[in-house]
Symmetry: C2
Subunit: 508 residues, 2 copies
Amino acid sequence: MAKNIKKRSDDYAQWYLDVIKAAKLADHSPVRGCMVIRPEGFAIWEAIQRDLDRRFKATGHVNAYFPLLIPQSFLTKEAQHVEGFALECAVVTHSKLEKDGEGKLRPASPIEEPLIIRPTSETIIGHMYSEWVQSYRDLPLLINQWCNVMRWEMRTRLFLRTSEFLWQEGHTAHETEAEAQEETLKMLDVYADFAENVLAVPVVRGAKTDSEKFPGAVTTYCIEGLMQDGKALQMGTSHNLGQNFSKAFEIKFLGRTQQQEFAWTTSWGVSTRLIGAVIMAHSDDEGLVLPPRVAPDVVAIVPIFKTPEDEAKVRGFVDKLVAALTGDASAAKTAHHGLERYVYNTANEQRILADFRDARPGDKQYHWEQRGVPFRIEVGPRDVDGGAFVLKSRIGGTKEIIKLEDLQPGWLKARLDAAHDALFQKAVAYREANTRDAATYDELKEIIKGQGGFVRCFFKPDRAAEAKIKEQTKATVRCIPFAQPGTSGKCIYSGEETTTQVLFAQAY
Amino acid sequence: MAKNIKKRSDDYAQWYLDVIKAAKLADHSPVRGCMVIRPEGFAIWEAIQRDLDRRFKATGHVNAYFPLLIPQSFLTKEAQHVEGFALECAVVTHSKLEKDGEGKLRPASPIEEPLIIRPTSETIIGHMYSEWVQSYRDLPLLINQWCNVMRWEMRTRLFLRTSEFLWQEGHTAHETEAEAQEETLKMLDVYADFAENVLAVPVVRGAKTDSEKFPGAVTTYCIEGLMQDGKALQMGTSHNLGQNFSKAFEIKFLGRTQQQEFAWTTSWGVSTRLIGAVIMAHSDDEGLVLPPRVAPDVVAIVPIFKTPEDEAKVRGFVDKLVAALTGDASAAKTAHHGLERYVYNTANEQRILADFRDARPGDKQYHWEQRGVPFRIEVGPRDVDGGAFVLKSRIGGTKEIIKLEDLQPGWLKARLDAAHDALFQKAVAYREANTRDAATYDELKEIIKGQGGFVRCFFKPDRAAEAKIKEQTKATVRCIPFAQPGTSGKCIYSGEETTTQVLFAQAY
């Protein structure tokens, strides 16, 4: 039992913070609502970035960088957009600090028009696209940006909701409505595939109702995951913006028929919130559990020895073990503070580590367990004699004795893949068990108040009804899943017959 | 002659902007002093990031992320630091926008303490390190951050000086003064090696004088390059911060002798300014010239055909050519707008492109020439018959006929390496020819007024003298080079005997 981590069943919110603290993933900062992503947490973000960036480029996108600051007037050009973001933005009003009479600093040199720190970049990018797009030959324009954004959140939670966060935002412009729609759905698929095949978090793909869509979008699509406390987490969104922003920012082009036309645009994004999803979907009462494909360290080797003779013996075995696991007798190595790291997978910067720090083996085991390393290996003098070692799996908690000679090329990859599959299947099973049908509003209320999870029901999307349900249950329509039953039923709220089935849940 | 690009000899400043515009590297933005880095420019930054990030990690550093906003009070804790940065920072004073009586937006909800957008992060990172460092066992702490920073510059120039820019900032804390000094110099060497062996820009390593050092540093070291107009460019700095910031932010630890000690810290950074250096050091009157090791596209193949028969013939040859150049008959490919790109070097994301757009071959040649692609290859039906092609080198401007059968594995890499060497040697020769000795202040003035470049002379660093010289000549001490003559001479300004030789130059 981890003493520094609350049990999920006792206090889920505190458990989440304890897991983050024990694994040193992030810290609160002196600036309200902003977090510090510590090296251990940032390495997960780098793994996420590397993988997604490859997927974006493989689908024809390129990266660029647009300014952090946006003129206040830009925000007002799209009516829904300003309503959505004006109430929570950091406003820059001055361009220097000066000392007052008492030597204290104060803002000076007010700037002409206030600037806001980007909460998202549709406006500034829309402005630039209006300059870059002249002809249908300039389309499609497929650009992504990795950056920081800021929304002045009142209630914050590390990774899940912070005033400043890191994300990527794709912004594309197309010649036709159909192409924009195709792009919107293609990127949603990229996100869903990444969530399931890399993060091992099963997601539901669907559309948002009008009251939950992005301010300025025609349609917002999303992927929704289910966390271990029965709350949903929106893990990524993809917006078909129609011509809303192209009309607001004059993104016009000379079409094939020599007519001036407005472009059709999309935007899509995922953020450091995904790290919160990874923690909440997989971790347990012992601490962090990392999905094998984003774990910076995939194996932690803990040597056990007391005498110099035993140390030499164990060291020799560890060297053989590393060579067998990496498939490379001279794998690139770094050593820092007694921690040796060997390159296992260059493309993903994944490593195998050997913990030769001056500490007790039990403490080391515990250390790597709390940090979610998929596999731990103990090697003592007796293991060396037997030509075998103990393999502990963080996923499933199994212990096995493995013979060194059995480590064929590809052994570790196969093990990591199997661990990924097990983690994913466990999460799928949890979601299946926590997706319940409701035929009436009372049933919905009872489920939400009781076990939580997803509530599947017929519902006719309606702003007023959704507001009322949210007020009464704190649950919202997470999405209208793409997978619909093809039958009809009574709307749980209005009683009207409808073919629309939705998923309700409380959400982060 | 490029019609859209001024000649360097006519108007160097305009030439620089024209090269950027022709290659679509960046744009001015609607926010004063902030730039938009376009995809073509951002790809160069990505190449720079990838290479440097590998070097930082190989020297034991890890990445993390700290908040964008810094409490105003943090700035005042280190006396020199506040003097250096308070006069040019973006100040956040409000947390939302609201509509006034006329429906116009205005800042609302003033925040308690103004926040500034980081101009650099020593203060916020110092605060966090004070929490993280407790014992000598926590040291060294070796962290790097890739991020955006903001300094409200009055006179801006794309890449070289912009209000917002992208950079990396390394921040380390050490147990001893000697270790901090070793780190400071190690990272300067990383920068110098990168500048010369990747960007092909020769640099002088040295120390800054007191009047030019980083606000809060004990010593600032730098690498200085020389641009084609005879002005110097500071391309990277590495600061030994002594205990200045550890005392200001209480970064204390229990030492080996059970005493509380202040840590010794360093910081070091390079920025998107390096893209400016690449442009200014290598490009010519025809446009951009990219150093081969950061060029996203290393070869541009331009097919020439008129009839469908010729197209098929040329297409077949291009396929063989790509296979020979990449060494991979099934190299990963993307196609967008008629541009086909084949992976040449996965680790550096470098590609070979084949331009099958519907445009004239001459226009395509010109297009890739202005974008600085190291090699262009023409392939027409007659080339196919002869089993050879014309290779044009952007570096040196040579034309050669190459037989397809001569493309052995490693041929392209050898060619790119040779092109890198040629580019570097050309820049070295330029610098040598433009480094002049001055024995008197009059000689210095004459050289600066005339040819420009580096002026090498004996000089006793002195704030008042440096201010006067800057006022009269616009030249500053770029650095006190590590390579000193070991003799002494008269200070060009005071006439005193000194062993210190410095380099003066006008600088960006």
